[in-house]
């Protein structure tokens, strides 16, 4: 008896945890919209998707929205699933620069050409920091150290081939150092890399501005540069261009829909995402999370996506991380 109660409770909670959603037909009508976060709950894509869910619910109250997670392999597992939903006008997938890199690195069979670009939403810049005790005071010092012996400059960042690694590679290239020579120490996420920096175990660290900004302000880390085009407000750090390294990179996030979409569906989804972007909950979330609003739709986003693919493909090959 007791087991049966436990079983019932458990079944209930499992059902609630996994979320039972229906797939919904095509045609951007009023049926439920599903947003895929191609990563585990808690990460950046998940956060963006769930924020979008709330914002759409606020902007278009009669529209049902549901977020679901398909984690794994830098988002390429979610991408493959999206590609199988050809023509489905009620499905969006959150994605970004990391997925562009993962497609190259994992030699994914499915690429972004099998999707319909809908909109770019946000950007987050990368920051290059050193521990407070470090002898490196500027980007020029870093370039000098790199040129003297690349092996002696250990670079802490996220996964091999990810955004942080790409930034390090582009910087080395701009400094005239072979990207393959970069002594990149991959960590699982910014937290672990932060620990290595605070413990003064590595020479420099590369990660999203949000990940390190607090510690730059408290003086535990020193910022050498940021990857934005202009200086960032509230952060005393030069851009890489000012420091003589011709690198500009935004870790952007956006949304795509399955391929083979009718023009009506594409327009309906674009309108919906535009309404979401204009809503107050979205604006609040952007401000709260320190994201940079970089809204782009239509051909403009499609062109941007194509250019990013070319650039990332080249640097991933030069880093030598294609599996």
């Amino acid at each position: 008896m007791r087991l049966r109660i436990l079983a019932a409770l458990a079944a209930l909670s499992v059902a609630a945890l996994t979320g039972c959603g229906d797939t919904g037909g095509s045609g951007g009508g009023t049926s439920a919209l599903r947003i895929m976060a191609p990563a585990a709950p808690g990460g950046g894509w998940d956060q963006t998707s769930r924020t979008a869910e709330q914002a759409i619910k606020a902007a278009v109250p009669d529209r049902q929205v549901e977020v679901f997670n398909v984690p794994g392999a830098g988002g390429t597992i979610g991408l493959a699933q999206l590609a199988g939903e050809k023509g489905n006008g009620n499905l969006l997938m959150t994605m970004g620069l990391v997925m562009v890199g993962a497609i190259e690195q994992n030699k994914s069979q499915v690429t972004l050409t099998e999707t319909t670009p809908i909109a770019k939403l946000t950007e987050e810049y990368e920051i290059i920091v050193v521990p407070a005790e470090s002898p490196l005071k500027s980007l020029a010092d870093l370039v000098a150290a790199w040129k003297a012996d690349p092996a002696k400059v250990s670079v802490a960042g996220g996964s091999a081939g990810g955004t942080d690694h790409i930034v390090a590679g582009l910087m080395a290239k701009a400094a005239g150092v072979d990207p393959k020579q970069v002594n990149y120490i991959a960590h699982s996420g910014g937290g672990e890399a932060l620990n290595a920096l605070l413990g003064n175990k590595v020479t420099i660290g590369v990660s999203g501005v949000g990940e390190f900004a607090e510690h730059v302000k408290s003086g535990k880390l020193r910022a050498l540069g940021v990857t934005s085009g202009e200086r960032l407000p509230g952060l005393d750090a030069p851009t890489l261009k000012e420091g003589g390294l011709d690198v500009e990179l935004a870790n952007w996030r956006g949304m795509v829909a399955p391929g083979g979409l009718s023009d009506a569906d594409k327009k309906a989804l674009t309108d919906l995402v535009t309404k979401m972007h204009d809503s107050q909950p979205w604006k609040d979330a952007v401000a709260k999370n320190g994201w940079i609003d970089s809204f782009q739709t239509g051909q403009e986003f499609a062109d941007y996506l194509a250019a990013e693919q070319t650039r990332v493909k080249a640097i991933i090959a030069e880093l030598g991380v294609v599996s």
Binding site: S13, L17, A80, A160, N183, N195
Partner: protein
């Protein structure tokens, strides 16, 4: 102190007490279920941060975290099927105790030990946070490598009576640990071209497959042959001797668990291994004879260790914004949802929230004890359910839990393959624990060694540069050599 009292006032409102109760109940439930862990539960509840005030949400999340550590031990002890990898070691002695009719005592020492450890560790969180953090940060890759070596040598004491079989099992675990993308170079290893394996096999799937499914298959295979052993439920409460044998392991487990929780990558598993090994070494008299047959020390120590590590995890999270476990990483995301940045400033800017949360940890711990202690004899009666029904239920929940992780069919196939492997290992007398330990420690040892060498540009002396790594390596050498030395002396004398 005044701040802590204010925290209690904040946490003791009826609404917050309700959230704490929901948290610990949910936590216990997901702890009992194989596959679903506290990290995933908190992640799925993240959207409530849009509607619930921060203090209530964190009180609930902390309850889930602690509850998960409690709940995991129940199925470990009763059914030899750990709900979480951190309660895996508990199964070693705990299940043997249950088979001897001492299930209620094992559950009670686990519950009280968790309470003691949780309470002491939370108190340490209040007083020792800054010191622990600076120690945790000073840990470099070479120190982690030395730590992994120490854990490996400690494992030798769980290798069962046959060292060859123990090593074979450890080797299997090391191979499973290699699957996936190599973190340093981004190259795929042993993935057989299956994309879903690029991220490696989740430790939850390995623990559930080898332990729960393997056990269920093994029990099923014996049903026709042997008459089902009637497990006596036994006396309901801990006797004087049980208390006497439990309190030291509780304290030692706490001392091991708390600092490990604060270490990034330390995790809740390693302190349970070390606690088990330490208790085994320190066992004297009855305990020494009972070890391997159901010694209460082997339950009390590791259970205290895993709860203390949960509190330890909160130290770097609150003081630095540094998540050291999956659950902590998701709680960090929750802080950011509220526009709060954990770090030194958090204590100054949001004292009500921080101290309310710390107070709620004390309350949650007390709630868990009240909830679990009376339930211990009740849970123990689970063993009276006919085996076929019981194990059919376990297989169902194991599969559900693993599927719920990622909704991936490939994971289910991996689970069943591992279940068959677990069955074969039991059939041929290979111990299970070393495989899971190898799977956890192998990748850690490898990645930290390679990081240390990369940072040192290939110079091997970096491995012994810090005093921490030297101490840890000397300890490992002692752990390996002392038994050999003793044997030699015994042979001569």
């Amino acid at each position: 102190m005044q701040l802590l009292l204010d925290g209690f006032t904040a946490a003791l409102t009826p609404v917050n007490l309700m959230y704490a109760l929901i948290g610990v109940t949910l936590g216990t439930l997901v702890g009992v279920l194989p596959g679903i862990g506290p990290a995933m539960t908190v992640a799925l509840l993240l959207p409530i941060t849009f509607t619930v005030p921060p203090a209530s949400a964190f009180i609930m999340f902390a309850g889930i975290y602690y509850g998960g550590m409690y709940g995991g031990s129940t199925t470990s002890i009763l059914l030899n099927t750990p709900g979480e990898s951190s309660s895996m070691i508990t199964a070693l002695e705990g299940n043997k105790m249950a088979r001897r009719g001492r299930a209620a005592q094992a559950l009670a020492t686990a519950a009280i030990g968790s309470f003691v450890a949780g309470t002491i560790a939370t108190a340490l969180l209040v007083v020792a946070a800054p010191a622990v953090v600076s120690f945790a940060i000073s840990f470099g890759p070479a120190d982690y490598f030395a730590l992994a070596i120490l854990a490996f040598t400690a494992v030798s004491s769980v290798l069962s009576r046959s060292v060859v079989r123990g090593l074979a099992s450890l080797g299997l675990g090391l191979v499973i640990g290699l699957i996936g993308i190599d973190q340093q170079t981004g190259q795929a290893r042993l993935t057989l071209g299956i994309r879903q394996l690029l991220d490696g096999v989740d430790v939850v799937i390995v623990a559930v497959g080898l332990f729960a499914l393997g056990e269920a298959l093994y029990v099923a295979s014996r049903l026709r042959h042997a008459a089902p052993e009637v497990v006596p439920v036994g006396r309901a409460w801990m006797g004087r001797a049980d208390w006497g044998r439990s309190w030291r392991p509780w304290l030692r487990g706490t001392a091991l668990g708390f600092p490990f929780g604060a270490l990034p990558g330390g995790g809740a598993e390693i302190p349970t291994f070390l606690s088990y090994a330490a208790e085994k070494r320190l066992a004297r008299g009855v305990a020494r004879e009972e070890y391997g047959k159901g010694a209460i020390e082997g339950v009390a120590g590791p259970e205290a260790a895993n709860n203390a590590s949960a509190a330890g995890t909160l130290v770097p999270l609150l003081t630095l914004g540094l998540p050291t476990s999956a659950t902590a990483a998701i709680m960090l995301a929750a802080f950011q949802q509220y526009g709060l940045q954990p770090g030194p400033q958090l204590f100054d800017h949001n004292p009500a929230l921080v101290w309310g949360m710390i107070a709620s940890l004390f309350i949650g711990n007390a709630m868990l004890l009240v909830l679990n202690l009376p339930l211990a004899p009740v849970w123990a009666r689970l063993l009276l359910i006919p085996r076929p029904y019981l194990y059919a239920g376990i297989v169902l929940f194991a599969a559900l839990g693993v599927y719920a992780l990622k909704a991936s069919v490939v994971d289910l196939v991996v689970l069943f393959v591992l279940g068959l492997l677990g069955f074969a290992m039991r059939r041929f007398g290979l111990p299970i624990a070393p495989a899971v330990i190898g799977m956890i420690l192998g990748p850690m040892a490898e990645i930290q060694l390679r990081r240390a060498l990369a940072i040192g540009a290939g110079d091997v002396t970096v491995l012994v540069e810090s005093w921490v790594s030297v101490v840890l390596l000397v300890l490992s050498a002692l752990a390996l050599l002392t038994p050999l030395f003793r044997k030699l002396v015994a042979r001569r004398g």
